[in-house]
């Protein structure tokens, strides 16, 4: 077993475990922290693929922005309590069944699929350096890149719209 494979299994175990704990923790704060750990482990996978830039962006966006946003919200709402009533047992049971079912179904179809034998291609070229990515992003993918800005603009307007008070509103 190569060290890389060991690393993979290690990271995968962490990823899955933290993901599961995110969901399983009763305290939302704990969930958020497990989520951060999960994201870090995923970043570890990225690094394993030698996609450093992506790993860093990932950490910045997810851990730095998204999880922080979650934490802000949790604190804003003062949810730092384990007061969540569990769903009815039948629902939980159903969720577990569905989880198992989904996993089995998806895993089954992929097991059924043609396994890739032999060597994977190695182009030998650089395909994931910052330079390369930048080139692609601003040439080939310029339109979606710009369009992503529209997406963010829409999200921004949306959030403003949702939180802005009307002049006429009485509160």
């Amino acid at each position: 077993m190569s060290p890389i494979l060991i690393t993979f299994y290690f990271l995968a175990a962490i990823t899955l475990a933290t993901a599961f704990l995110t969901i399983y923790s009763k305290n939302p704060i704990h969930s958020a922290i497990y989520l951060v750990l999960c994201f870090f482990s995923i970043a570890g996978h990225y690094l394993l693929f030698n996609a450093q830039f992506l790993a860093i962006v990932h950490i910045i966006v997810y851990s730095g922005a998204i999880v922080v946003l979650f934490l802000f919200t949790i604190m804003l709402m003062n949810l730092n309590k384990e007061d969540e009533v569990h769903k009815p047992r039948i629902t939980r049971l159903g969720a577990i069944v569905v989880f198992i079912l989904t996993s089995i179904v998806l895993v089954t179809i992929f097991i059924n699929s043609k396994t890739i034998m032999g060597e994977y291609d190695t182009s030998g070229e650089d395909f994931q350096s910052i330079k390369k990515l930048g080139n692609i992003l601003l040439n080939e993918y310029m339109v979606p890149f710009e369009f992503a800005s529209i997406l963010l603009l829409v999200a921004m307007i949306g959030v403003v719209l949702l939180s802005k008070k009307e002049k006429t509103e009485k509160k």
Partner: protein
């Protein structure tokens, strides 16, 4: 540069992603706390992102990673909007338990 998949195998990444995705799905179904549900969705998206990167390496092609950027942008936008909605729900209902959202039915 060696293709790392020669060591790990794409199937393993697929299974990892699928399991992560399923955990996300499970979370969505299992929890009533909207914020945890959001987190579960983030986990789902991340599972896909991971797979994108794996495929990107598999094909030795950068486009997969480029797509991950877009995916991240989408995730960020969604979280922002989602949390904004969540906040306004919380303001009105005083709770973020999704099981309490039962005014609309029938």
């Amino acid at each position: 540069m060696n293709n790392i998949l020669n060591e790990i195998g794409i199937e393993n990444y697929i299974f990892l992603s699928v399991l992560l995705f399923c955990i996300g799905v499970f979370g969505v179904l299992y929890r009533r706390n909207a914020i945890i549900v959001f987190m579960s969705i983030e986990i789902m998206l991340n599972a896909v992102n991971l797979l994108f990167v794996a495929f990107s390496t598999y094909h030795q092609d950068a486009e997969g990673q480029v797509f991950v950027f877009f995916s991240m942008a989408v995730a960020a936008a969604e979280v922002a909007v989602g949390l904004a909605i969540l906040v306004s729900v919380y303001r009105n209902l005083g709770s973020i338990d999704i099981d309490n959202l039962k005014n609309l039915k029938g």
